[in-house]
Structures are given as C-alpha cells and as structure tokens.
Subunit: 202 residues, 2 copies
C-alpha cells in the first residue's frame, strides 16, 4: 500500500515493516525521521545493517557472537578453562564480562526452554554443552540462565542432564539487586533474599 | 555500551538507537532479527535507507514528497486546479488519492498547529498557502487537516487567514466511519454524526 507519493518512501516503509514489532505507523514515522535526518545518520545505519552479517561470526567454542572464532574470551589469556558459565544469549555473556566478576569461560545456549514458543532442548545448544563437559577439564558449571520461569526451568533441566558427569553444578544467586528497595521489590525476590541470607562474619 | 562481544552488532545497535522510539532493548531485538534474516532482507532495507534521501524530492507546487517536482498529481492531466485540498502530511494526500474521491490539487502543510510541540504557523507552509490562494484561479479550499484537536485548530486558523480572500472554504465531514459501530464510537463522533445528518432524499 502506498503511504506517500514518493516511491522511495514507500519502499523504505515496506522494508521496515518486515522487522519485528514495526507496523505501518512506526515504519512511516521512522522513514520520515530518516528522510530529514543528517545524511550520515542514514548512511551509518545502512552500512551497519550491510556489515552485520558479513562481520559477525559464531564462536566455534562458546557459540557467542564475535568478529572472530574463537572469540577473544575463549582465546584470551588468564581465563580459567575449568569453570564454564552457561548463559542464554551473547548479551548475557557481555553483561557478565562487563561486571568483571568472572574469569572462566562461557557456553551460549541460544535461548531458554519455552514450550509455548516451540523452544525445546533441541533448539538450544544442549548437546554441545554435554560434549564440552564430557571432554573433561571442566570442574564447575555455573548455570547463569535468567531468573525467569523459562531460565529456571532451563537451569533445572541442564542440572539433570549434567548430574551424572560429576562436575560441580552451581546456580547464580538470587537476592535484592544493589540499590533496590525492599518495599517495592516483588515478593519472590524478597523471600529468596531472606532465605539466602549470609552471616556478616563470612 | 557493548551489548554483545560482536563489534558489528554493537555498531548496529548504536545506529538503531538513534531512531525515535527505539531503545536499547528494541534495537538489540531488531539487530538479532537482521543477523538471522535472509541476506536480501537486510540488503533491501539498507538500500532503501540509502536511496531515500537521494530519490525523494519535495514538490515545488504542493510540497508533497515525490520522486519528481512537480509531482505526478500537480502535473497530472484532468486535475481541477480550482479546488485546493489542504492536508497535514504527504501520507494524508496519499490516502485521499487512494480514495479516488478528489480530483483537485493539494497543499501539504507539513503538520498541524501544536504549541506544545513548538509547532506554530511559521513551522507550517501557511505563507505558501496564502500566496497560492492570492495568485488566483482557486475557487475552493478544502481544509482536510485531521479531525483532532490540533487539526481542528489548524483548520480554524487557516479559515481566519483565508477569510478575506473570498474563496469558498470547506471542512471535511465528520461522522460515523463506514462499518463503524455506534455503540462503540466516541461520543463526539456520534453527536456530530447526528448533528450533521442528511435527508435521505438529497
């Protein structure tokens, strides 16, 4: 459907509407923005889209997205290859790397179990994880899937699968986020923060 | 902020976040979509963005967006240059053209009066409209700004400005949309549909 009398505008709107969550109205608003934006804003966006698939590879070892394989984390010096942190997405791995609190290596599952969305174990990199653990050298697997129903289910599923391997299985801690407000926190978070309380003399 | 370990991904997320209404989360979701999309989907989008500013011109006569100036409507055969339809945006003009119910010419204001958004008469093509009307040949001006508070205010403002010109000034009709449901229509629409009722023998 033509939304303007400019074929170039219609073409962009049609292209934008293919993106998830972008309908006719948002596509038109974005197209008008790009029409009146500084030319380099449009050029940089177009270039970033074109380069994305060319410049992104999946790390053959941990399956994160990177510009090379193995990725800088897997190939990095000073990483402890005995501790493997399992995350859902590359963005989770990036967040843990930014925190600076982990010096082991990673395994990116590619999502979490979610039967409703058709995500079963075969859609995730579960077999690859079992192979890495079976290959030996790993002493601990940290299950760092998200603290959501899907993430928890995935962590339990993986714990079952890896139980026989004999490696230590741990789950990230639940509790109050730093700067959080107990009054406004959800009750599951509060009850877990109480249940997992630690002695101050630890 | 790096959201992944892929610089190409981070670059695209940064570029997408410059668009209106797109935050970190939507930008990341769009980037993942484009990463796994068929290559031609990404290529067509990038190309449409690049061509937009190059291939789009503003019609020197009606100020719509087009691939040429004057636009196909202004230059078209069989248009009545005595009736001028004033709209807010090129998309409104396109919608009226699609309806096939109008054979005159257009004037695109570039928006509606909205003091809250800093849109005063000087931000719209009001002076250009007055010049076109003053140049003669126009017998009727149809004020087809949107049926919103801003569109109504703009129509009234333009009616005042053009009152002295002696041309006939009309406003698009308000009433029930075809296929609408009286039970669920807002009360302003219903009361206008009643007030503007027409004899069936017209």
């Amino acid at each position: 459907m033509a939304t303007s009398s400019s074929p170039a505008m219609d073409r962009l709107v049609t292209s934008l509407k293919r993106l998830p969550g972008i309908g006719e109205k948002s596509a038109t608003r974005l197209a008008y923005f790009l029409l009146s934006a500084r030319p380099e804003v449009a050029r940089e966006l177009a270039d970033a889209i074109l380069r994305l698939q060319i410049d992104t590879v999946v790390c053959e070892s941990c399956f994160t997205l990177s510009d090379r394989s193995p990725c800088p984390v897997c190939a990095g010096p000073g990483r402890d290859h005995g501790i493997l942190c399992v995350v859902e997405e590359p963005a989770d791995m990036a967040a843990i790397e930014r925190s600076g609190g982990f010096k082991g290596i990673y395994h990116v599952l590619g999502g979490a179990l979610s039967p409703i969305d058709g995500m079963g174990p075969e859609s995730l990199r579960v077999g690859e994880l079992e192979r890495r653990v079976r290959a030996g050298g790993i002493k601990e697997v940290v299950l760092a899937t998200n603290p959501t129903a899907e993430g928890d289910a995935t962590a339990h599923f993986l714990a079952d699968r890896l139980a026989a391997s004999g490696v230590r299985l741990t789950r990230i801690a639940y509790g109050m986020p730093l700067g959080g407000d107990i009054e406004y926190a959800d009750h599951v978070t509060v009850s877990r923060a109480i249940a997992n309380r630690r002695a101050l003399t630890d």
